[in-house]
Subunit: 226 residues, 2 copies
Amino acid sequence: MKSFSSYKNPALAIDLVVFGYHDDRLSVLLLNRKDEPFKDQWTLPGAFLQMEESFQDACDRVLGTKLGMNKVYMEQLFTFDDPARDPRGRVISVTYYALINPKKFEVVAGKMANDVQWFDVRKLPALGFDHKTIFKTAHQRLKSKILYYPVGFELLDETFTMPELHHLYECILETKIDRRNFSRKLLASEYIVETGSRREGQQNRPADLYKFNKKLKQNNFQLNIN
Amino acid sequence: MKSFSSYKNPALAIDLVVFGYHDDRLSVLLLNRKDEPFKDQWTLPGAFLQMEESFQDACDRVLGTKLGMNKVYMEQLFTFDDPARDPRGRVISVTYYALINPKKFEVVAGKMANDVQWFDVRKLPALGFDHKTIFKTAHQRLKSKILYYPVGFELLDETFTMPELHHLYECILETKIDRRNFSRKLLASEYIVETGSRREGQQNRPADLYKFNKKLKQNNFQLNIN
DNA sequence: GCAAAAGTGTTGAGGGTACACCCATGA
DNA sequence: TCATGGGTGTACCCTCAACACTTTTGC
């Protein structure tokens, strides 16, 4: 049996598309690179995979050290293999997307970055590498996923109102959704539970607060949009 | 900027779940290994990624040299990263699943294998590495995919009858489907077109032959099962 | 003529869409 | 009391699920 070390292997990177919902809009976290290649340009956060590290470990490392986050919802997206995607040589990129509540974390630029910032998904700057493609793939995946899986709660606070949830869905799907039908559908799915309290101190009638039903494991939720 | 060669990288393998439909059942192609590890055991076909090779190239290489196939429907499945998944050391496995018509190819055991064989998905032998997990992931993906994307045609001949298509769906989904509702639904979707001819020489009433409508690019096909 | 399988049509129930009205709050 | 936004109810339509009869072939 041949030894592995006799083969030369491509480098393996982990790149993350971190979505956040803030100020009534969907955003992505981007990093301004301090070093070449793509110095001073915006890219997705990422890192090279260490030899003993699982993907999860690598993602946690990026989220922890570069962004000051932990325990976030994450899912594998796609593995990008274009031999020309990195000017330094052959780099395979295994990508994940994450959903976080920006209020819970203070983003910090790590050693490798000039800056870290949230960008409205509709107003992204030019991105280095093939990161625009990666972002588009993630955005599309999120749009599909949210229609049959209750993934939006990860972006909101522990408790939230129906109008807040409604607006989040409109934001992600980039469509109008009838709020009454939306409300009925979500309540019928049993994915959300009333808390009994309301969001007070707003301009108008206080909205009921709900929370995600964590006990519910399986469901045939399917949101149909007009 | 650091040189890449200073880093040691995990090995990168490509593994394939090749589905075929034959004798009214769904099968997977397995390979009996000639060498350690898992010598004389069944595994999914695969190979190490070459330095300059894209995933597509690597898949074509495996399908071509080990299985004598070309130009098949293929889709990326998932990338498996368990550091202990290969006894030889750290190997990341990027997996694809393929759909082929077994009648079109004569499978041949390449240099690396004792044997290559189709196995009924319901009667798989023990598999080496984490290939059982990979298979299950692929099977599940195929089940979901076929409900909203006309992927079954890849497994059939150029022309096929409605009962054949119906049985294929029942096979993949492992459920009974009402044949009348199924037929109406498929015809309404415009994914299939009448050829005008019929399957003659059978025991009973000849069935109409259809073919896949290749012109149709986009559709909101969604099959609902009882 | 009979068995077996293929083609086709109908009906009723349920879910979704598209609506309008009432309610609670701050100013 | 008025404007604004949140909560709730209803009717129609359309789709889907359930089901039965007719047709064509081989023996």
